[in-house]
Amino acid sequence: MLSRRQLLAASPSTLPLILALSACKGPAVLSAPPTVSPQTQMLLHSVTAELNLIWIYTRASAAYSGLAATLDPLRAEHAAHLTELRSRVIEPAGRPVPATVTARPALAGTQAGVLAQIRAAEQAAVRTLMSRLSGASPSLAQLYASIAASESVHVTVLNARIGG
């Protein structure tokens, strides 16, 4: 082991030799950026899922103005879900939180078809959130469960509209 004094006294030309003789490994090579933990990966997927739901609500509301009174309040709740999920992303530093819609399905050709399409998307979202519970921290599990409950109520609202 070299002392700090020996290192400071070494010239640039002799430092490599001293390091080699003293069995020092030298400075560590910069490692790759930290990988995203599975929990964060799930959180980022949840953000994207909400973006996709908001996109289809927005398109449906624009295409069928008669549905806006039903769909807009539900879309607002998805926007709240998105905000909360994004606020929970704390790692890795500097990595952008998703802001891009990844699924842009064609809208069904009728109002009833669109409602059924959105209902199916909500049901799938509930199933996905439920599947994420076991790998989440207690706080995130509560958030996923609460959002799943909100979205299951959306299914009820859509059922009533389809039935009515």
Partner: protein, 158 residues
């Protein structure tokens, strides 16, 4: 709603105090169910027709949930919390409208309590709690007509 094994294995990172955490969360849910059983009885007396039938169905559902929780707690070696002889209502229930508001408030309480079960580090209990949260949130909507962005999570921006 499925009933998880009371001796379900803890998930990764479970601490030695995990059993106590399970019991505390289940006791919280049971206390909320006791309150719901009492409150549905009060509300049902003020309702009529289809609303009364719905309240009766809810009353029975909460009794079943109470019994399930008591069984789970007993299997964990705990003594289930008992119901209080009476509960202070959050507001006066004087007719159908306030009775419906009471039922919605009870369901909100049940929703919050089962979110406590979701926080337990046990996969089967989390799933059980989350299903109960969905059921209670659905009932709260049925009685209030209002949807929520974050059922059971007070203070979350909605």
């Amino acid at each position: 709603m499925g009933t998880p094994s009371a001796t379900a294995s803890a998930g990764p990172g479970a601490s030695p105090g995990a059993g106590a955490g399970r019991i505390a969360a289940l006791q919280g849910a049971l206390a909320a169910e006791h309150a719901a059983v009492y409150g549905y009885g009060v509300a049902g007396a003020m309702l009529a027709g289809r609303q009364q039938a719905a309240a009766r169905a809810g009353w029975i559902a909460h009794q079943r949930a109470r019994d399930t929780l008591e069984t789970m707690l007993t299997a964990l070696g705990a003594t289930p919390v008992a119901a209080s002889a009476a509960y202070r209502l959050p507001f006066a229930v004087t007719g159908g409208a306030s009775a419906a508001r009471l039922v919605a408030a009870l369901e909100h309480g049940v929703t919050r309590a089962y979110l406590g079960v979701v926080a337990v580090n046990d996969a089967s209990l989390r799933s059980f709690g989350a299903q109960a949260v969905q059921a209670a949130a659905g009932q709260a909507y049925a009685w209030s007509g209002n949807t929520e962005a974050f059922p059971g999570l007070p203070g979350t921006q909605s």
